[in-house]
Amino acid sequence: MKQEINKVSKIVSELINFCLNNSAKKIDISIEDKENRFEILISTDYIKCNKDDVENVKTLLETGRQLEVDEYYWQLTGEDMSDQELSLVGMMVDEAIVNWENPSMKIKLIRYRET
């Protein structure tokens, strides 16, 4: 359970890095610990990006959970100011929803507990 919490913290840290790296001035974060999953919602009123950038973020986050990568490389999440880590976040979550209404962005991530 502790490791699961650490992984969620790392995912959130990576999302914060992503927002700040793209000129966000205010970030709201919500984390819900539900019965079988964690739900992470991060929203910012301003983020500097265009339509292609958003498609790119969607592609990276919607990679789909890959348990083997999750278990081996999770400690790298949140450690680098690079978009590549969003790819790792994508491999650590089961569902990702990205809403962009220029200039605001909301990202919802769902991570199911391993059973």
Binding site: E68, V69, E71, Y73, Q75, D83, Q84
Partner: protein, 429 residues
Amino acid sequence: MKDNTNNNHSFHLGTKSNFIILSIFPLCLLIIAFFIDSPQNIINGLHKIIVSPDILLTDYLAVGGIGAAFVNTALLTLVGIYMLYILKLKINGTLIAAIFSISGFAFIGKNILNVWPIYLGGFIYSKYENIHMKSIILALMFATALAPVVSEVAFGLDLDLKISIPLGILVGIMIGFVITPLASHMVRFHDGYNLYNMGFTAGILATLITSILRSFGLIIETQSVLSYEYSNFLRNILIIMFISMIVLGFIINKKSFKGYINIFKYKGRLVTDFTKLVGYGITYMNMGIMGLICVLYVIVSKGYFNGPVVAGILTVVGFSAFGKHPKNAIPILIGVYVTTILNIWDISSTTVIMAGLFGTTLAPITGTYGFTAGIIAGFLHVAVVMNVVKIHGGLNLYNNGFSGGIVASIMVPIAETLKNRGERNETGN
């Protein structure tokens, strides 16, 4: 923000198709083995491979002959692919890297017997931690780098076999049990700039094991058992294999090289999965191109194609689905090549060629900090890798990954500081 969008020009490649593609190489090796060698020779050779000490450098082509070495590689690779299949994993860049690493190192230390205690240890760990085997199979596949520990304890220490064989198995199980959390932790040491993270982890663990064994008066020394007679044959097989990969990638990419150049913009730092970022077509193309570059490097260095060199090439090819491409790997090769002209090492020797090939574990340093940093990384890697093997006595097959971890952990903070300083100077702050 950078554009990391996936390649939309590729045909969709299903999971089964990837399993079939990855199975072609080991199946071909299996068929070739029985064409060029007799079944009796192969069985005798496999027996020799199993009971021989497997510490670096032990070329199974020299120990058991080409037929047995090919069968050993084919069986280990097929078993690895089958495990991924029954665990219902989708083939991605890191799994391709793991499969090719197994294929390569099955020429120099992993055999059909000594890997199992490590897998068993991992299975026990998964039960202990109540996690699915599919979560740790990747780490376990890479962890078979320490398979020589099993063979060395079982057959190499001149102990009574009734004691040494169970002891070897027990040590292997213990390695499998601890390796997943260790490898996950160690990745922070080099911050993902050493692609062979398991090499670094296994190096640390092997150093501990070797130290314990030596403290009891048991001798662990490196050896050099190499083959030279199959060089041309191996070179030709590799060239055919890599050209086939390029053709395959070309076909998957809708008979086009379109988009290949996009792969150069990726730094290659862990985790850079090309199958997700640029698609399977370009990934297979990149693997083939990197394979040919490696073959060319060996030819230019006037080296022989033998077990260790094939291991190096196949590992590079595997990691060309997971971070390596010509732009971030070639500077390392140049760095190693130039260094070995200037220093005491023989440029054509197998160990130096291995240093060049495996040195590309530092490709993310080139990708992030540029060409010159890549040259320096190559220089440092040669210096370190030729020395660290003494620490673990050759028990860690991924010796270059161990060295790469040390070089990356020293270079990255310094390069980052210099880079930040340069950026501050540019902005005038």
